[in-house]
């Protein structure tokens, strides 16, 4: 069962939408598994000045997208990279164990958008992000 916080973020998702002229875009998940998250970033002076998401998935997928975007909005890239799924879970006052993977997806979606931003800027994202951004083939971010 979902916490009230989850239900609130599901019912009133923060930062839902698109940024047409985004500086970075990340998409993770796939239709077959039933979760897709797409993150749009606007970055100025190393700061995430705007962030939007679009999510296909369950209540937890929507709520973690909303919460994760809230948590990194206004933060520097370095700070945003520190966001882990457990911080998202905690901020949502918990998630059912079967839904923890949604929070992992949210973390990955933001990383993925930041990597896209780096690439567009001609910077190698690996030292900054700590990974190649190829989540699908990665063992480090163990999706449940």
């Amino acid at each position: 069962m979902y916490s009230e916080k989850v239900m609130d973020h599901f019912a009133n998702p923060r930062n839902m939408g698109e940024i047409p002229d985004a500086d970075g875009v990340g998409v993770v998940g796939n239709m077959k598994c039933g979760d897709i998250m797409k993150i749009f970033l606007k970055i100025e002076d190393n700061i995430i000045v705007d962030i939007k998401f679009k999510t296909y998935g369950c209540g937890a997928a929507v709520a973690t997208s909303s919460m994760a975007t809230e948590l990194v909005k206004g933060k520097s890239i370095e700070e945003a990279l520190k966001l882990t799924n457990s911080v998202v879970v905690e901020a949502l006052e918990g998630l059912p164990s079967a839904k923890i993977h949604c929070s992992v997806l949210a973390e990955e979606a933001i990383k993925s958008a930041l990597i896209d931003y780096c690439k567009r800027q001609g910077i190698d994202p690996t030292p900054i992000v700590g990974c190649s951004g190829d989540c699908a083939n990665c063992e480090n971010h163990n999706r449940e």
């Binding site: 239900m7 599901f10 019912a11 998702p13 839902m16 998409v27 239709m31 077959k32 598994c33 039933g34 979760d35 897709i36 998250m37 797409k38 679009k54 999510t55 296909y56 998935g57 369950c58 209540g59 937890a60 997928a61 929507v62 059912p96 079967a98 839904k99």
Partner: protein, 390 residues
């Protein structure tokens, strides 16, 4: 979120006022143990026998062919699991069922497999229909039980039970049907249809949760799943759920009396709902177009996920259900949606409304007003939807 429209009658039903009124005195006034010798006990016993007649009448059985228990799951476990183990030494260890059964059947079959049984699960077509031809081919001399559900709980498809029962009899096996979704909603005559065993559950026909029954044809012996006292003619031990059984009996009586009229009324509501929902683009009906339970209106809505749909409908006071993966807590959508050949990405958008006795025209109007808004909102959130509108 106060409830405005309850459209999940396949999950459970509201206990009707008449049923509750019938049950009520059996908690604190006529509370005797039906096995007791004194008046209070004898009265309780009489109440149970009356309920047995009521339940039997609804499905064309004799009262002594009805055994009360705790619900549909227990009935399935008994009629399939216990019976198959019991007859295995003389008959063999092969059991036939289908891919779209309820988990109470499928997991009973899994347990049988662990004990060395061979289980054949018949495929269904895109509408969820089991093929009598396929059954004919699957049945063997060592097949003890064939179990095919009367009607499916997710997509509402009604199976050709009489035909399947006939093939089973000709094949020398015993025919069981999980009729939990059908009893009280469509006409059933176990004798005419040639059914040997049947499972039913009170809470699907406006009776209480936690009470059910099995029909076991006279002459067929199925040992008890629960051993102990001599209740239920030694077929099911445990102090009888007196009020529950009285409620089940009353619910059967009411359902029987109004069956045809109610079926017509609910079918009309259902048809209007289906028509309206299908006006939403990229939406399809699941299950058989006509051979289906009166109240069942089940769909797949593309580009959105079922659990979100249910949660958002709930925000508008509409109770419905889904067979999406997220709702089941597993990675896969419901086995029924897989069995009818839907791809994962379509099945994730499954949505089921099941109308019933308390459903009204206004309910259908309300759903048809709110559902498109909810779908729009979720599609607006969905990165997948962008691909559709491009």
């Amino acid at each position: 979120m106060t409830l405005k429209v309850y459209a999940d009658n396949a999950a459970t039903t509201r206990v009707s006022d008449e049923v509750l009124e019938a049950m009520y005195p059996y908690f604190s006034i006529h509370y005797g143990n039906p096995s007791s010798l004194y008046s209070l006990g004898r009265e309780a016993k009489i109440a149970i026998e009356k309920a047995r007649e009521q339940a039997a009448a609804l499905i064309g059985a004799e009262p002594n062919e009805i055994i009360f228990n705790s619900g549909g799951s227990e009935a399935d476990n008994t009629c399939i699991g216990v019976y198959a183990r019991f007859v295995a030494p003389k008959k063999g260890k092969h059991v036939i069922s289908t891919k779209i059964e309820h988990h109470a059947v499928l997991h009973t079959l899994d347990a049988l497999k662990k004990d060395g049984f061979e289980v054949t699960l018949l495929d269904v077509d895109e509408y969820g229909l089991v093929s009598p031809e396929a059954l004919k081919k699957a049945i063997r001399s060592d097949t003890s039980v064939v179990s095919v559900m009367f009607a499916n709980n997710e997509i509402g498809t009604i199976e050709p039970i009489a035909e399947l029962a006939k093939i089973t009899r000709e094949g020398g096996a015993v025919f069981h049907t999980d009729a939990v979704q059908a009893v009280g909603h469509v006409a059933i005559d176990v004798k005419e249809m040639g059914i040997d065993m049947l499972s039913l559950s009170a809470h699907k026909l406006y009776g209480p949760k936690g009470t059910g029954a099995m029909y076991i044809r006279r002459g067929l012996y199925c040992p008890p799943l629960i051993h102990g006292g001599g209740q239920e003619n030694k077929r099911r031990a445990g102090t009888e759920n007196l009020a529950g059984i009285v409620g089940l009996g009353k619910a059967c009586e009411i359902a029987g009396a109004g069956l045809e009229k109610e079926k017509e009324r609910v079918t009309a509501l259902r048809n209007r709902l289906v028509e309206g929902v299908l006006k939403i683009p990229y939406t399809r009906l699941t299950g058989h177009p006509t051979q289906r339970l009166p109240g069942n209106a089940s769909f797949c809505i593309e580009a959105i996920e079922g659990e979100s749909l249910i949660l958002m409908l709930d925000m508008f006071g509409i109770a419905a259900s889904t067979g999406s993966a997220c709702s089941t807590g597993s990675l896969d959508p419901s086995h029924v949606l897989m069995a009818i050949g839907l791809p994962h990405e379509i099945a994730h958008g499954s949505l089921r409304f099941t109308l019933g006795h308390y459903s009204t025209d206004e309910d259908v109007d309300y759903i048809l007003e709110k559902l498109p808004q909810v779908v729009d909102r979720l599609r607006a959130m969905s990165p997948v939807w962008d691909d559709y509108i491009k």
